[in-house]
C-alpha cells in the first residue's frame, strides 16, 4: 500500500488514539509531578449533636487564593515517584544498610506497598501467561481433532469463561471457597482443620486468583489458536504422516512453526492484560492478601475519602513503563523477523 493511502486509512484511528489515549496519558504524566498545596489549617469551634470542641479545619479563603494562582498544585518533581508509597528510594537504601542478610532486605522491601503490589503483579503475569498459552493450545489441538458434529457446542462451552463477566465469574468462585462454600468446607474436612480459610490465607488467595486468571483467559488463547490451526496446510502434515512422524513431532515441527506469529500475538496481549490484573482482586475481596499495581491506582482514587491524584498518576505512569519493559523482548523479536522477512 502506498504510504499516502496508508496515512489516510490510518488517520481517523490515529486521531482517536491521540485524543482519547495519548492526551490523557500526557495529562496523567504531568499530574504525577505535582502534589497538593500546603494545607492552611485554622482552629475553629465545631459543634455537633454530641457537643462543641475546638479543632482544625482547612482555611478555604486562603486555600482558594493559592489554588487560583496555581491550579495544578505544588511542583513536586519526582517526589511522588520516590516516596514510600511508590519506589521508596530512601527506605530501600536504609533497609539495605541496616539489613544483615539479603533475605531480610527482600522481606523488608516486600513490605512496602509498591513492591508488594509489584511482586503479586509479576507473579500473576509470569504464571498465568504461559499457562494460558499452553492450555489454550492444548484445547485448540484437541477440539481440532474432534468430530465436526459435536465441535460447535464444545467450542461454545470452552469460550464460556470469557463470555461470563469477570466480576460475576470471580464472585461465583468466591462463594465456592467461602468457609461454608462447597470448596472451602470440603478443604476444611480434607485438611482436618476447622479454622482453615482460603480467603484469609495469603498463599491460598494467590493460588485462587491465579487459577481464576487461567480459567478466564484461556478461552481467548484457544479461540485465536483454533482459528490459526484452520490455516495449517494439509500437504506437509500428510507427507509427515507417511514419513512416520508421531503426533508430537507433527505438532512440534509443522504446526507450531506455522502458527508461531499468532503465538507471539497472544503472548503479547496476555502479558498486557495480566500485568493490569484488577477485577479478581475486587471480586474475591482479596485486598488484604493480594494487591496489584492497578489496584493501587484504584485505591488511591476511590478507597480513600481524600483522592490522591498525584499518587494514582505516578503509579499509572510506572505501570505503563512496566508494561513496555515486559513487552520489549517480544517486540524486539517481532521487529527482527519483520526486518529479515523484508
Amino acid at each position: 500500500m502506498p504510504n499516502r493511502s496508508f496515512f489516510w486509512f490510518f488517520f481517523p484511528a490515529g486521531l482517536a488514539m491521540i485524543l482519547f489515549i495519548g492526551l490523557p496519558i500526557i495529562s496523567t504524566g504531568i499530574q504525577s509531578f505535582y502534589a497538593q498545596h500546603d494545607q492552611i489549617l485554622i482552629e475553629v469551634k465545631k459543634c455537633d449533636p454530641f457537643g462543641c470542641k475546638t479543632s482544625v479545619v482547612v482555611d478555604q479563603e486562603a486555600t482558594s487564593k493559592i489554588k487560583e494562582e496555581k491550579p495544578l498544585g505544588k511542583f513536586n518533581g519526582f517526589g511522588t515517584y520516590i516516596d514510600r508509597n511508590h519506589l521508596a528510594s530512601d527506605q530501600v537504601s536504609e533497609f539495605w544498610s541496616e539489613s544483615k542478610s539479603v533475605g531480610e532486605f527482600i522481606g523488608k522491601v516486600g513490605n512496602l506497598p509498591f513492591y508488594k503490589a509489584l511482586v503479586f503483579t509479576l507473579t500473576y503475569c509470569v504464571i498465568v501467561t504461559p499457562c494460558v498459552l499452553l492450555l489454550g493450545f492444548i484445547i485448540a489441538l484437541s477440539l481440532n481433532a474432534i468430530s465436526r458434529k459435536i465441535r460447535g457446542p464444545l467450542i461454545f462451552g470452552t469460550i464460556l469463561p470469557m463470555i461470563v463477566t469477570p466480576l460475576v465469574g470471580s464472585l461465583v468462585l468466591f462463594w465456592m471457597i467461602d468457609a461454608e462454600g462447597i470448596i472451602g468446607a470440603n478443604l476444611q474436612i480434607l485438611m482436618d482443620d476447622p479454622y482453615l480459610s482460603v480467603k484469609s490465607s495469603k498463599a491460598l488467595t494467590w493460588i485462587t486468583i491465579i487459577i481464576y486468571g487461567v480459567w478466564h483467559h484461556s478461552p481467548f488463547a484457544f479461540v485465536v489458536f483454533y482459528a490459526a490451526l484452520q490455516t495449517v496446510p494439509q500437504e506437509p502434515l500428510e507427507a509427515s504422516i507417511i514419513d512416520g512422524a508421531s503426533r508430537f513431532q507433527r505438532v512440534k515441527h509443522i504446526v507450531l512453526p506455522h502458527i508461531y506469529p499468532v503465538v507471539t500475538f497472544v503472548a503479547l496481549i496476555s502479558l498486557m492484560d495480566n500485568f493490569r490484573v484488577f477485577e479478581p482482586i475486587i471480586g474475591f475481596s482479596a485486598e488484604g492478601s493480594a494487591q496489584s499495581l492497578s489496584w493501587l491506582i484504584y485505591d488511591n482514587l476511590v478507597n480513600e475519602e481524600v483522592i490522591l491524584f498525584g499518587s494514582a498518576a505516578a503509579t499509572s505512569i510506572m505501570t505503563i513503563v512496566g508494561i513496555s519493559i515486559i513487552l520489549t523482548p517480544v517486540l524486539l523479536r517481532t521487529w527482527k523477523e519483520f526486518r529479515t522477512n523484508r
Partner: protein, 406 residues
C-alpha cells in the same frame, strides 16, 4: 384492609405536607447511603417537593461518587447526605455551602442541637445518630451461664467459653473487612483505650505506642474468635452470619438493627437477639465506639434556587414528627418528638457512657485509609504489632505530605 387504611392516612398526611412546603421551582437531587432510615427520610422529603424536580440516588458507594459529583459545576447533586467522616472531604475541597440564612428562613422545626456548625457557619443539619455496639444472643449466653459482657475482655472470655462448650465454632463477629471497615474497628478500639490519633492538635501521627499495640492485640483476639474469612466480611456479611445462627456476640452498627430484627429469618434467633451498650476495653471508662451523626449538606456548585428548594424539602423531613413516630425503630432520630424504643439502646447507652464522636479532622481520612490496608498483615500473623503501627504511620506520613498536611 389495614394496608389500605395506612395508605389512605399516608396520602392524607402527604397532601397536608405538600401544602406545607409549597415549593414552586428549582430541582432537588439527593445523594445518600443506602439503609432503611435514609430511605424513609428521603421519602418524607419527597412528600413536599411541590412542583420541583425530585431525584435521588441511594448507593452504598456514595463515598466514592460524592467528591467528583459535587466538584462539577453545576454539580450533579444538590443535596449530599453525609456523616462525621464523609463531610470532611467535602469541606476540605470547599464543596458545600453554609446554610445559616436558610435555617433562619425555613428551619422552624429544626432543633438547635441538630445543627453542625463550623466557626458559626451551619454546614449540615443532622437528623439521626449512630454508633457501633454489642448485639448478644440471650439464649446462648443463658445456656452457658454467661452474663451480658460489658468489656471486650469479657466478650473474649464469653466467646471462648461458648466455643469450648462446642456450641459455635466462631461465636464472635464484627465487620473486619480489609479497608474502611477494619480501620473503623481500630479507631473504635483505640479510642476505647484512650488514644489520640495525632500529636497535640497537629497532623503528626501518634498511634505507634502502647495503646496502639494493646488495640491491635485486642482486635487479633477477637478476630481469632470470628469466622476465619473475617477479612472479607462487611456489616452485611456479618448480619447474614448472625441470621444464620452462627454468632452469639457481635459488634454492629445501630442503624442495621432494623433489618436484622425484621420478620425475615429465624424467629427464634430474632426473639433471642438483644441490643446492649457498647463495650469498654482495657479498663477504660469510655466505650470502644465512636458516635456518628447523619445529616444533610447542600452542594455549593448549584444555583441558589435549587439550594433553597432542596433545603426546604430536606428540612421538612429533618423536622417531621410524623416521620419519627412512624419510623421510630429505624434509627435514633435527633428530631424533636422522637421517643426512643428498644432498638435505640446502643446509641443512648453510648452517649450516657460518654462515647466520643468520630474525629472530624481534615487529615483523618488519610489516617483511616492507611489503617485499613496496613494492619492486615498483623492480623494474618505475618507482622508484629509494632511493625504494623510503624507501617501505618509511614504510609500516613507519605500521603499527608502529598496532600500538603505535613
Amino acid at each position: 384492609m389495614k394496608k389500605i387504611l395506612v395508605t389512605l392516612l399516608f396520602l392524607l398526611f402527604s397532601t397536608v405536607a405538600n401544602a406545607d412546603c409549597n415549593i414552586k421551582s428549582g430541582s432537588i437531587n439527593i445523594l445518600a447511603n443506602d439503609f432503611p432510615a435514609l430511605r424513609t427520610l428521603v421519602e418524607t422529603a419527597k412528600e413536599c417537593k411541590g412542583s420541583a424536580d425530585f431525584k435521588v440516588t441511594h448507593s452504598a458507594e456514595h463515598n466514592k461518587i460524592a467528591v467528583p459529583a459535587l466538584t462539577a459545576n453545576p454539580s450533579e447533586f444538590s443535596v449530599r447526605v453525609a456523616a462525621n467522616s464523609s463531610i470532611v472531604p467535602l469541606m476540605n475541597a470547599d464543596l458545600i455551602r453554609p446554610m445559616n440564612d436558610l435555617v433562619k428562613k425555613y428551619g422552624k422545626g429544626i432543633q438547635e442541637s441538630q445543627l453542625i456548625t463550623i466557626d458559626g457557619k451551619v454546614m449540615a443539619v443532622a437528623f439521626m445518630a449512630n454508633t457501633q455496639h454489642l448485639y448478644v444472643r440471650t439464649d446462648v449466653l443463658k445456656e452457658n451461664g454467661i452474663a451480658i459482657p460489658k468489656t471486650y475482655e469479657e466478650v473474649v472470655a464469653a466467646a471462648e467459653k461458648i466455643r469450648a462448650a462446642g456450641k459455635m465454632k466462631y461465636p464472635y463477629a464484627a465487620a473486619y473487612k480489609a479497608g474502611w471497615n477494619l480501620a473503623e474497628e481500630f479507631v473504635n478500639m483505640y479510642i476505647g483505650h484512650g488514644g489520640e490519633f495525632f500529636k497535640d492538635g497537629g497532623a503528626q501521627p501518634n498511634i505507634n505506642n502502647a495503646k496502639g499495640v494493646a488495640t491491635l492485640n485486642m482486635l487479633k483476639k477477637l478476630a481469632d474468635l470470628s469466622n476465619p474469612d473475617y477479612l472479607t466480611h462487611d456489616s452485611e456479611a456479618i448480619k447474614v452470619e448472625w441470621e444464620s445462627g452462627n454468632v452469639a456476640i457481635m459488634t454492629l452498627w445501630a442503624s442495621r438493627s432494623g433489618t436484622l430484627l425484621d420478620d425475615e429469618g429465624d424467629a427464634n434467633i430474632t426473639a433471642a437477639t438483644k441490643l446492649v451498650a457498647p463495650a469498654t476495653v482495657g479498663g477504660g471508662n469510655i466505650p470502644a465506639a465512636t458516635l456518628w451523626w447523619d445529616g444533610f449538606t447542600l452542594a455549593k456548585n448549584r444555583s441558589d434556587a435549587d439550594a433553597e428548594a432542596s433545603f426546604r424539602a430536606m428540612a421538612h423531613a429533618a423536622s417531621s414528627k410524623e416521620m419519627v413516630a412512624k419510623a421510630a425503630d429505624q434509627a435514633v432520630w435527633l428530631v424533636e418528638g422522637f421517643v426512643p424504643g428498644p432498638k435505640s439502646v446502643g446509641v443512648i447507652e453510648a452517649v450516657k457512657m460518654g462515647a466520643k464522636p468520630y474525629p472530624m479532622l481534615p487529615q483523618m481520612g488519610l489516617m483511616h485509609g492507611a489503617l485499613g490496608s496496613e494492619i492486615v498483615e498483623f492480623l494474618q500473623g505475618n507482622e508484629s504489632a509494632e511493625q504494623a503501627l510503624k507501617d501505618v504511620e509511614a504510609a500516613y506520613i507519605t500521603k499527608a505530605k502529598e496532600q500538603g498536611f505535613l
